[in-house]
């Protein structure tokens, strides 16, 4: 087990470095000139050169790369030309907002998706199964962006049940920053009204973001459950008079959960990328919006930092899933 973790960690570091080289090359081959954009449309050549020097864009590419990688080890992710602030400082503000949204989304997808998968497998062609079919095909087919807009227009504007966007009401002060995740910070500082308000703002974006994940969790779980339930040992269990609930929950679900877990992990990784769209619909000030703003300003360093974080995030969730797999299934442990 330890050997596996060690091997995988080294592999991950190598992949991250590869990712860094690729993003650095792509962003520097792209034709946009961040210095010219930062200096403004009417700037003189002298003003542009001054900005270029200030940010070190005048140095040779290799030197820039070495400085950049060196900085990363010191926790320095560069400086944004657009916000003029260090990228790490910007991310401290934006990342927790995204993380919070993603966590609620995946929780929503799991809590709703797993039982739905189980019920639709047990009662095939029942109304839950039909609903599941509807949800899973629309989850795969509907663009998340469009779904977000529709939720916003119907539940936000038409019915007025939920806020249109943002993390809190306009005049509410955010809770003292501890984790940067408003619901958690509000609980920690005992501001329950802020907690509920933050939760209220979370509902629509979290549902929109969770939809594709929900769809695949339900599908995989349903398929696995049907397969497991038809196996001989289930027939045996039924013959021995074990209660139906126990049969499903304890025996069948445990085995069906393995592939479901893999999907959850994968989706958790993908979700972080999906937030770009949801965040702009709901004005959720997270890394997605930050990256989008950086891309439209040819602002290299924030783009690289966000890509790096997304990549690391994706690798890390897969890594964790492998470990959990190993714990759940002894056969996996040997094959690192």
């Amino acid at each position: 087990m330890l050997q596996m973790i060690g091997k995988r960690s080294i592999l991950m570091l190598g992949m991250l470095l590869g990712l860094l080289v690729i993003t650095f090359s792509i962003s520097h081959i792209a034709p946009g000139d961040p210095a010219a954009l930062a200096a403004g449309p009417d700037a003189t050549q002298e003003m542009i050169d001054q900005v270029r020097e200030e940010y070190g864009f005048d140095k040779p590419l290799v030197e820039q790369f070495v400085i950049y990688v060196g900085g990363i080890f010191e926790g320095d992710l560069g400086r944004s030309v657009y916000t003029t602030r260090p990228v790490a400082q910007d991310l401290m503000v934006y990342f927790p907002a995204t993380l919070e949204l993603v966590i609620y989304s995946i929780l929503f997808a799991i809590i709703l998706g797993v039982p739905m998968g189980v019920i639709s497998a047990v009662k095939q062609n029942g109304w839950v199964d039909n609903l599941v079919r509807f949800v899973s095909s629309s989850g795969v087919g509907l663009p998340m962006f469009w779904l977000g807009l529709m939720l916003q227009l119907y539940f936000g504007l038409q019915l007025g049940w939920f806020p249109l966007g943002g993390r809190l009401d306009l005049m509410t002060d955010p809770p003292t920053t501890i984790t940067g995740m408003y619901t958690i910070d509000a609980l920690l500082t005992l501001k329950f009204n802020v907690f509920f308000e933050a939760l209220h703002h979370m509902v629509l974006p979290a549902i929109a973001l969770s939809f594709p994940a929900l769809a695949s969790i339900v599908r995989v779980n349903r398929a696995e459950m049907i397969e497991t339930l038809s196996l001989d040992y289930m027939t045996n269990a039924r013959a021995q008079g074990i209660s139906k609930f126990r049969m499903i929950a304890a025996y069948a679900l445990k085995n069906a959960m393995l592939p479901t877990l893999a999907i959850i992990g994968l989706r958790f990784g993908w979700m972080l990328g999906g937030t770009v769209l949801i965040e702009s619909v709901f004005d959720w000030p997270g890394v997605g919006l930050y990256a989008l703003q950086a891309v439209t300003a040819s602002d290299f360093e924030p783009v690289m930092a966000v890509t790096l974080i997304l990549g690391a995030w994706f690798m890390l969730t897969n890594f964790l899933i492998d470990i959990i797999y190993g714990i759940l299934d002894p056969r996996v442990r040997g094959r690192a």
Partner: protein, 535 residues
Amino acid sequence: MKDMSRRSFGRLVKACAVAGLAVASLGATMEPATAFERVDGGKVLVIAGRQPVSTLDPSVKYNASIRTLQQALYDALVKYDGNPPQVKPWLAESWEQSEDGKTWIFKLVEGAKFHSGNPVNAEAIKYSFTRTLELNKGPSWMLSDFLKPEGIVVVDDHTVQFNLEKPYAAFLSFLPWWYIMDPAVVGAHVEGDDYGQKWLTENEAGSGPYKLKRFDQGTLYEVERVKDYWKGDGGSNIEGIVYKLIRETSAQRAALMRGEADIVLDLSPDEFDQVAKAKGIKTSTEPALTAFGLKFNTKGKYMSDKNLRKAVAHAFDYDALVAIFNGKAVLQTSPFTDDIKGKIDVPGIPRHDVEKAKEYLAKSQWPEGGIELEYVYVQGLEVERLMGLVLIDNLKPLNITLKMVPLTWPNLVARGSKPETAADLMAIFATPVSVDPDAVAYQYHPDSWGKYYGTHFYDNPKVTELIEKARYTTDWEERAPMYAEIQKLIVEDQPEIFGMMRKRLVAYRDYVTGFSYTPVRMTSEVDYYGLGIGK
């Protein structure tokens, strides 16, 4: 405050119950539209915009959202007001210009003070101009060729003198964008040699009608009205204004309908027409200096041929252009937009005329057509995409095909920076920063080549000479005919398809009072001074 949280809690509970999340409904009643926000009985106006404010520092950067905030927090010597825009006294109550146009003397008003309580004096003026010139960022380019820090002289506490290196007719027209900072406050926050830049990014040191209350980057920016503002309240009755970021225009529309925003700035023409019909909402279309044109690359393989340029310009369906904006646009009758001083209606500016287009094509190097032109526009800008589609249709009779290439703004700017990479046609919106004709004329000077509004690489030595001569001439009677000549020559050379002036579309709740507009402001830029709530 407490009341609002309870309301929000009620809404959450109700929503949860309906969503089947097993929370019992407490029977909270649905609230009607919230309208403007209230804080401790006072009213706070909410404005929705899509562009974040990356910095507040007046010496570092300006764009529509940044300048909205700068104009609220800071004052300048003079201010643009009215339609047509005029330069009005502000911190300066009067000024005079020497015969040779090189010396300007400004008399400051008595009683103006910064938010810190310090007086706005000649020393502060000198400090602020020096800071902007030395940092050489943001608005610095407007004056850097004409004014050096040594040329700014404090005559007495309320008199400041500018000695220009050479006469510059447009000098005064740029001063509204040079905001005055409190030297003591900036000085207290200098780190190393940064001239206070780090601190001024998210803080202010101004004397404007509002002071900064919250700078919540990526979410909102809130300002609080200065009750004893030295120039009076301008009819305002509110506590403050929140500039809230709502990035999707459809979400802005929803926020306005629900009363979560009182003024929205970025609606599309269709959305604008929808909200105009709604109860409780007022709309206005405001004229603007912004020009939309299709720049030809006059140094390119095809568009260096003047007859081809003329052919395309006559094939273009100008009415379709106005239709794309649901009629909320006016066609340009000169390279200069309306409200630019000295603008004339140039006779013979091309209009849709297929026969004429064919005549010009016959005189070009490609009399039979058979070529493909490249049209580059900003990705995601629907109106520019529609424009391309119209153009494809328009060019068919000339046997010319059009390749549409959408690019992100940085990539578009990069392509337009050199004649070798610039596209045959590029869709460009450009807003001059001043109403002086020099600001527009200079876009056709070789110094502008490669800038986003200079992707035409237009080169006519006679025009260049006239532009230079006119900018150093101080007597308007002498300048006016020069600019008339410049406009005629540019139209004759056809370095672009002169398009239209799109109107600004502003929608607001009907209780908003004191909304004023001057065409020199950029799209989505608002002047907070005098805004109020009428109920």
